[in-house]
């Protein structure tokens, strides 16, 4: 069970890596939710290092702690044990530096703002000029296929459209670190493919670090440089798989034997770690 990406993979993408390049460093992390009845051990003994420019995917059964882990990294939840650093500083400081963009599992649009204004929100907060943020919002809404819906309110959009608006919101302010919690779960296959292509392109061009949660093995294979397989109760990492796929990818890459084999490995890992049967 290795948790550092092999140098080769990184070198292949033409990035020079050093210790300073460690963006996320999670050590012996644990989190127990205290609830009125029994405490829930959401995460246990999590160790993980993520380097600049990596695309790491968390995959695992529903309720295994993917969201929780991501929230800890984003300083939205406090671990009960262990340490986390983001860019060498605490998640708290990293958040204050606006180090990341977060796409939530639900769209989390503000009902009183129309779609355009929802996408402009982070820019407003970060003090971007009116003209510029309007331009950016338009561009990214276009990117996610919501042109023409700028003036609509969230309740006037379908589920998938809401989710796309929230993706546009996070991408548009161009953070170095992207935390994406099942961003494409509500999209149809074709739209999803487009979004995957766009994400690959953006990641490749901008060398962002991406942490990604998905339930789709295909998606994990297509996008990731590393896949973290988790299991539930307590949530822990059962396997970390490095992808042998080249940095240059497209939708066809999924069909390649290497990809197929990778998908198989993930499926096995998931099966092994799946606690569903234990629970029933």
């Amino acid at each position: 069970m290795t948790s550092l990406p092999p140098r080769e993979a990184a070198a292949e993408r033409g990035t020079l890596m050093s210790v300073a390049d460690t963006v996320i460093d999670v050590r012996d992390l644990g989190l127990v939710f205290e609830t009125p009845d029994a405490p829930v051990e959401a995460l246990k003994d999590i160790n993980l290092q993520i380097r600049r420019g990596e695309f790491v995917t968390f995959i695992g059964p529903s309720g295994c702690g993917k969201t929780t882990l991501m929230r800890i990294i984003a300083d939205l939840e406090q671990p009960t044990s262990g340490t986390v650093t983001v860019n060498g500083v605490s998640p708290h400081e990293a958040r204050l530096q606006r180090a990341y963009g977060y796409i939530f599992q639900a769209a989390a649009l503000y009902p009183w703002r129309n779609i355009q204004k929802n996408v402009e929100l982070p820019h407003e907060i970060m003090g971007v000029s009116k003209a510029e943020r309007a331009e950016k919002a338009r561009r990214y809404l276009d990117l996610v296929g919501l042109k023409g819906f700028e003036k609509k309110f969230p309740f006037q959009l379908s589920g998938g459209m809401q989710q796309r608006a929230s993706i546009a919101r996070a991408l548009s302010f161009d953070p170095d670190l992207l935390l994406m919690d099942e961003p494409f779960g509500a999209l149809d296959e074709i739209t999803r493919d487009r979004m995957n292509e766009e994400l690959l392109r953006i990641w490749h061009e901008t060398k962002k670090t991406v942490i990604f949660v998905t339930h789709s093995i295909d998606e994990a294979v297509l996008l990731s440089t590393r896949i973290v397989i988790m299991s539930a109760r307590p949530g822990r990492i059962v396997e970390v798989i490095d992808s042998d796929l080249p940095a240059e990818r497209n939708l066809e890459t999924r069909e390649s034997p290497v990809a197929q084999q990778l998908a198989h490995r993930i499926r096995l890992g998931l099966k092994a770690g799946h606690s569903y049967d234990e629970v029933r």
Partner: protein, 299 residues
């Protein structure tokens, strides 16, 4: 929602008119019941067995009824509203104007105070812990008890007329605003707050862009209550200075001289004023909510 004048008649006017008609009817009956004893006694002195019809008619024509009949109130109302110069001291419009200005000033002050306090409480734990119980306690102080003191003290420092009344209004009406706003400012769901945290938005930004918009429904429910209370406050403020202008003074002197009809017409004026105020808030609410497209729900 657009509707023609006919639609307006059916949807707005007809229901109100029906309910009003029923109330007026009940009112006449009630007037008979409440005034019966006095009228029948008076008529009994004149003739041995006064006819029922005479008593009933009498209950609607008393000079100092327990409950005046609607047409008596209407007559007094029209006399003091329409047949009197609005600047004259016998004009109800003049008195309503005096009270309305104190109400509005007090309401504005109270709403601002309530909102500011709520913002403070939501943001500063010290205030949340320390202030809240005392804000509540402040409202259990019977205002009428300290209203004269306030008027006296403010009178000493040269503040007379509108300001002392407004301060009493403010004292009463900041409370529902503060309570409602604290709830409203805390109503955004955790994910919406987390989004702001992820942007490292400042407290001010979270306030402006999330908490305040989310609190709007609470705010308006509170404002409607507050404006009604503010009117009460202004009128209470007019009580101790019973001889000055305003609906409160009108009520007091009416009450003092047993002029039931005058009391009731002042009450109606106050109620009418209150309705106008509450509806203005409602109108503003619909405009804001409409602009946010929140009239409908989420899918």
């Amino acid at each position: 929602m657009k509707q023609g004048p006919a639609g307006w008649m059916v949807n707005k006017l007809l229901p109100v008119a029906t309910v009003v008609a029923i109330i007026v009817l009940l009112w006449y009956v009630l007037a008979v019941a409440l005034n019966w004893a006095q009228v029948s006694e008076r008529l009994a002195k004149e003739s041995d067995n006064p006819p029922v019809s005479a008593i009933v008619a009498g209950t609607w024509e008393m000079e100092r009824p327990v409950l005046p009949a609607p047409h008596q109130i209407a007559a007094e109302f029209s006399k003091t509203v329409f047949e009197t110069r609005v600047t004259a001291k016998r004009s109800l419009v003049y008195h309503a104007g005096v009270t309305a200005s104190a109400t509005l000033l007090g309401f504005a002050l109270g709403a601002v105070l309530g909102i500011v306090l709520a913002i403070g409480i939501v943001h500063l734990k010290v205030l949340d812990r320390s202030l809240m119980p005392w804000i509540i306690a402040s409202q259990t102080v019977p205002i009428l008890a300290i209203a004269p003191m306030i008027i006296v003290v403010l009178g000493n420092v040269g503040l007379t007329g509108l300001v002392p009344k407004s301060i009493i209004s403010m004292y009463l009406c900041f409370f529902p605003v503060a309570i409602g706003m604290v709830k409203g400012l805390r109503s955004p769901d955790p994910m919406q707050l987390d989004l702001m945290r992820s942007y490292n938005a400042s407290a001010a930004q979270i306030l402006w862009k999330l908490r305040l918009p989310a609190s709007v429904p609470f705010l308006f429910a509170s404002l409607k209550v507050a404006v009604a209370i503010s009117l009460t406050g202004a009128i209470v403020g007019e009580l101790p200075t019973g001889a000055s202008a305003g609906l409160g003074a009108r009520l007091l002197s009416g009450s003092y001289y047993g002029q039931t009809v005058q009391i009731w017409s002042a009450l109606f004026m106050a109620a009418f004023l209150g309705m106008v105020l509450v509806y203005s808030i409602g109108g503003i609410e619909r405009l804001t909510l409409g602009a946010r497209g929140q009239a409908a729900g989420a899918r």
